[in-house]
Symmetry: C2
Subunit: 227 residues, 2 copies
DNA sequence: CACAGCCTGCGATGTGCGTCACATTGGCGG
DNA sequence: CCGCCAATGTGACGCACATCGCAGGCTGTG
């Protein structure tokens, strides 16, 4: 459980709480374990729980009327999901599915509310977290409008690298755990086009492709291609 | 000033405040008047003021590296803008420009903070408002990925109709105050393509085109075309 | 270890929409 | 009331990307 506390105390939701508060809030946590491919919640479900990721990766997806999928985000340890239905009650507007085995801490609306009322600092941190998310999402919109598919792929890789990258002597290892199909849904393009973009980057020596991972070799060039 | 109070009391920011609080907050407001085309703030500016629209319309835009523009939102009376730089300090990530003459109520970070700390209900309302915005923006992302340009035009018109539409005996009058160029930036398409989509809808008798406005005649068909 | 089911890699073909190049209209200041 | 510039309307053309089709490779499961 030490591991758990470590990650939690760094999550934006907890960082504003004093010792006592953090301890109290932790006591009302429900831990959830998911196997790869398992669903935490689905679009349309009722639910007012918020989750903080402890380990693993979870994807947030939306499904269009005709069944095609769009990947909104890939979340890792410390990140928060499910807040929208908590702050603005209503059915889930996205599904959450584990990309790898994952452990999450769940909190109900009623668990959290007293803390917000007593320690407004918590609310301020949450407002900041949501504001950041909104900015990010606005960036995504701009990219969809202005940037071509290879550019968006480069951007996505750099984004994943920042969050999941591990420096090593032969380059920046990004084990994203996504299939090319999922990567394609992430950037809003077809699987084939993404495949070709990746192949092109590899050919130019900007990266090396591995199973559900890439190794970034020339980040500067990738960054230039992204804008 | 009565008019002002009327609109303000309905804005989500104020709705949570008690009588005294609302009166106190109102006293720290700075009123801003903008003429059509005038800029309230620009991308990159420093600033931590939040604004509530009292009258008129303001557009939020982003500019890409090569100078092309993207219209994030058109805001009308009661709506809030500039919150992001207030909750998550940093330079503005969008510009705000008046589409019509407009009046806004401005509040600085320091004016608002005491109220959040003393009346957590205010923070709760703000969280809800941001959550709603985030959901909306996620919808926009999905539309850009899944829906073709005519579909997005139809969606945009229906959205504008909900917020600015006036029922009349010859159809639903939507005076959006946008040029077709701006409408195009709104849906992430070229001016020409938007023009052709509008012409097509008009030809089918779904709407009538007027100067900076449309009159919706067959909302049901438009709605079907949008999805 | 064999077979099935995913995942990846690529070429061929079609098309939505951006770009360019105009003509036309309409509002507004002189 | 005239001329000018911004806003609209429309066609021709090309390209980026989706779609389709198929051929390996990898993985794990009986």
């Amino acid at each position: 459980m030490d591991e758990t506390n470590e990650v939690l105390s760094k999550a934006p939701l907890f960082e504003a709480l004093d010792e006592d508060g953090a301890a109290a809030l932790r006591s009302s946590i429900t831990e959830v374990r998911l196997g790869r491919g398992q669903t935490l919640f689905s679009e349309g479900d009722e639910g007012d729980r918020l989750y903080v990721m402890l380990s693993g990766k979870v994807k947030l997806t939306r499904t269009s009327a005709d069944g095609r999928e769009n990947l909104l985000a890939v979340l890792g340890p410390g990140e928060m999901l499910g807040e929208l239905s908590l702050f603005d009650p209503g059915p889930r507007t996205a599904s959450a599915v584990a990309v790898t085995d994952a452990v999450l801490a769940g909190l109900g609306h009623d668990d959290l509310r007293p803390f917000i009322m007593q320690q407004p600092e918590v609310a301020v941190h949450l407002l900041k977290a949501l504001a950041t998310r909104l900015r990010r999402t606005n960036d995504v919109v701009a990219d969809l409008v202005f940037t071509d598919v290879p550019g968006r792929v480069a951007k996505a890789l750099l984004d994943l690298a920042e969050r999941f990258g591990k420096e090593s002597d032969d380059g920046l290892h990004v084990h994203h755990d996504l299939t090319q199909e999922e990567l394609a849904q992430f950037v809003g393009a077809s699987r084939e086009t993404v495949n070709k973009a990746l192949a092109e980057f590899a050919l130019r020596g900007w990266l090396r492709i591995e199973a559900k991972a890439v190794v970034l070799l020339d980040i500067e060039r990738l960054r230039r291609r992204a804008r």
